[in-house]
Structure formats: C-alpha cells, structure tokens
Symmetry: C2
Subunit: 100 residues, 2 copies
Amino acid sequence: MTYVSVSRLRVPAERADELITAFRARVGLVDGFEGFQDLEVWQNDRDPGELTMVSRWRDRDCFKAYMKSREHQVSHDRIAPDLDAAIKLEKLEHLHVVAQ
Amino acid sequence: MTYVSVSRLRVPAERADELITAFRARVGLVDGFEGFQDLEVWQNDRDPGELTMVSRWRDRDCFKAYMKSREHQVSHDRIAPDLDAAIKLEKLEHLHVVAQ
C-alpha cells in the first residue's frame, strides 16, 4: 500500500510564514517523479513553528530514489541558506497506509 | 484551508492487525458528513503498535460537529470493548494544510 514519509520540522514561530512561502513557491520537481502521489505541509494550530511535511508514494523505494536524486538536491538548494539553517528536523517517520 | 485531525493511537503490537481490520470494516458513516474530505490510517514501519488516524475536513467546525454526532458515537461503539480498552490515545493534533 501507499508509503508515507512524515518529516516534523521546527522553525522559530516568527519564521514559519517564510518557510510556508518557500513551500508554496516550490518548483514542483518532485511532482513528475516515479511513484510520487502528493505532498502537503501542515501547520500545528497550537504550535505555529511546528510544520509537518507529508509526502505519499507508491512505495518506499520510489521515495528513496527521489531522496538521492538531482531533483531533490535542486529543490533543497532553493531554500535560502539562513532559513535552511533555522530549520530543525525533529522527527522523520516512515509509515504505510493500512486503511482508508 | 483544509483542517487535519491527527490521532496517534497505541495498541500492543500483537493487536495492531485487529485494529487495522476494524478500521477496514468501518461502516463509513463519516463519509457523507458535511465537510468531510478523507480518512486514512497509517502504521509506523518501525513501531507496528503505533497507528495514526488522519482525517481531513473543510474546516475545524465540520470536524467538531462530527465528533458530537450520533454517527461518530455509532462508529465508535462498533469497536469491540476489549479492543477499545487496549487502545491508548497518545496524542491528538489539530493542524491546517498550508502548502501542497
């Protein structure tokens, strides 16, 4: 079944809008990638500096291939260095959809 | 933007399949509910007793109305009491989609 990658990111609350804007402006290099289904970014209502990036894939191998790709590198490199430095990856989870 | 409710559930690992089966057999009373978009259950690849129930709604008020509804009560009451007693709600999160 569908593989889900969940990255829990933390930024200072006052920089959350900047990170959200960067996500909204993403070039979408991932969208055409083999096995990619969709990507969303969620903001915690009670903790605005906590942003959760959720991507869904046909299987985990597709996700791993993307993570090693030039497209991922290019996408990541578009984040301004000082914003990038302010982002902490708190948690990275690997899950599968088991029911709908 | 879309409201997301995330419930982190824990069951003893040996009962995970039972809970997944119950989710798969759900009667779908939520599906026609005002503002409901979709529902998924995710299992953590590295911690099979951790199940995450993710539902997406037009807005938080729709979710709150559902939680108070007879349909929610009926859905919940279908879970076998001894399975229900084995489920711990570890975390309940309220989020909004901010980018796609």
